[in-house]
């Protein structure tokens, strides 16, 4: 099964992502969904806006995915990041992996989201009432 790595503008459908990692050999599937919180730094957030350097983000995420698949012998792997406006409660990122057992699935899923957050050239701007902040810069 191929790794699925995508940057999308539209809402992410977790059901589709789950279906994309289904595999009859798998005993465990772990999923992480990162959603826009209704507050940050003590202030109410209206929405966030993600921006990506898309071709590089896809390249970095593809490398990360390859590493995880090899290290945890994954069956299915899907990593999808959304860009543009993401409202409170909506998913900005969904990562799903299927593996023989739960330990590998959990570890791989955690590794993937940590590595994507650390290295993928994607930026989040939090929009508050009348104020905007790029997280990190």
């Amino acid at each position: 099964m191929q790794d699925i790595v995508k940057i999308v503008r539209e809402k992410i459908n977790p059901d589709e992502i789950l279906a994309s990692v289904a595999d009859d050999r798998a005993g465990g599937t772990a999923v992480f969904i990162g959603t826009t919180r209704n507050h940050s730094q003590g202030a109410p957030v209206e929405y966030v806006e993600y921006e990506a350097y898309e071709p590089m983000a896809i390249g970095i995420m593809t490398d990360i995915a390859r590493t995880a698949r090899f290290r945890w012998e994954l069956f299915g792997l899907s990593a999808v990041h959304r860009v543009g406006r993401v409202d409170v409660g909506e998913a900005g990122v969904v990562i799903a992996v299927s593996a023989a057992h739960r330990a590998g699935a959990f570890e791989a899923c955690r590794y993937l989201i940590d590595a994507v957050k650390k290295d993928a050239p994607i930026w989040k701007k939090e929009v508050y009432a009348g104020k905007q902040t790029w997280v990190g810069l």
Binding site: G34, Y50, E51, A52, Y53, P55, M56, A57, G59, H81, G92, V93, I113, V116, K117, K118, D119, A120, P121, I122, W123, K124, K125, W134, V135, G136, L137
Partner: protein, 79 residues
């Protein structure tokens, strides 16, 4: 040389790419220095900026070649 910029740097620069004058043999570090010189508001971010060359993080300093795709990468915050 044309340099792609993103996120907070893009907003400070006011455009998603900028033309940076570089001498022959320039490096990724020269890109950051030239950009910071042209946009003083970037000064305090300078230590946190990285350069990507051809869509890969470039160890600093990396010698640039004509035709390279150069991008300035502010601290990332995806996920």
């Amino acid at each position: 040389m044309r340099v792609l910029v993103f996120g907070g740097v893009r907003e400070i620069v006011g455009s998603d790419s900028v033309e940076v004058e570089l001498a022959g043999g320039a490096t990724s570090e020269d890109v950051l220095n030239a950009l910071a010189a042209a946009h003083p508001a970037l000064g305090r971010w300078r230590p946190f900026l990285r350069v990507a060359v051809n869509r890969q993080y470039a160890p600093e300093p990396t010698r640039l070649s004509p035709g390279d795709e150069i991008a300035v990468i502010p601290p990332v915050s995806g996920g």
